[in-house]
Amino acid sequence: MKKKFFYFAAIFIYLVFISISFVIDFEPGKNIGLNFTEYAISLVKIVPCAFILVGLFEVWVKREVVEKNLGKESGIVGYFWAILLGGVTIGPMIVALPVAQALHKKGASMRVIFTYLGASATCRIPMTIFEATCVGIKFTIVRYAASIPLLIIFAAIYGRVLDNRNYSRLDNTAQEN
């Protein structure tokens, strides 16, 4: 609750700051305000769809299917799906987070979740093509070749520890049902 109050206070101060900036024509303040709206608009184009799709996923996909393919006993198959799923995820990390949460609720293991989040950050296919054209294909290949094994190693270590402790603090939206 304390955190919520702090957040509200921060947002309020921010709004006051931006309003005053526009009134007294303070350039940096105006610029910051415009950045806010610009970024917010770019999110509005993706986020509602992503949440609706995650909601549909939650009601339609059977727990057993996720558990079998992405659960604790999924082995190498789990990593494979996690990387593939991460690669085709579009948009910023804000989209990957509810997906990760939904997968975990359906029984995906923490190591799969870590792999998925990492892959959605580093191995997104559309982004990769863009990167290769800007920086060079060799750079992209090296980055992939180094990132994917490391991602799996890190996810295996951290994920296994959390899985063994049956860690499930992934849902503070638990009250929703």
Partner: protein, 159 residues
């Protein structure tokens, strides 16, 4: 645009098969979104400042000079605390390359940019919890350093 069409079709099919389940799904979506609004606003506030103060020009200026070790450390810190969409980040990386910034430094910057999100922490915390978020970001940072090191080795920039 495609995303809207896909979502629309998915909703329609879902609704034809089971209207009740579909409404349930929408309610879940709304609940998730509702819980995220305040942390997301905080993230937007932080990002709006970051976009103002950490412009591509400034990052270019900082990474275009100095030695390799300092460059990698600086790049990974900048990448962690900055937030920029891919269509700005990759052309920027291209410019860095043209300015003779090493691949190792570019790798440290892009990987932390993608893997570590200090500014997006409030939203991540909302979905994953504090502990998992901290673990994920720390692991991402270490991973980015190793990836940078490997990049440097492959391109013969170190040793």
């Amino acid at each position: 645009m495609y995303l809207f069409i896909i979502t629309g079709i998915a909703l329609l099919i879902s609704f034809i098969f089971n209207p009740k389940k579909t409404l349930q799904g929408l309610k879940k979506a709304w609940n998730k979104f509702k819980n995220m609004i305040i942390p997301l606003t905080i993230v937007l506030v932080l990002v709006s400042f970051a976009l103002h103060f950490m412009t591509p020009e400034m990052i270019e200026k900082y990474l275009s000079k100095g030695n390799q070790v300092i460059g990698v450390i600086l790049a990974s810190i900048l990448g962690s605390v900055t937030m920029m969409p891919g269509f700005i980040a990759f052309p920027l990386s291209g410019i860095l390359k043209d300015n003779n910034v090493s691949y190792m430094i570019i790798s440290a910057f892009t990987t932390t940019l993608m893997m570590v999100g200090v500014l997006t922490f409030p939203v991540e915390q909302n979905f994953l919890g504090t502990k998992v978020s901290i673990i994920r970001n720390t692991a991402g940072f270490i991973m980015a350093l190793i990836v940078a090191l490997i990049t440097g080795l492959v391109f013969g920039e170190i040793l």
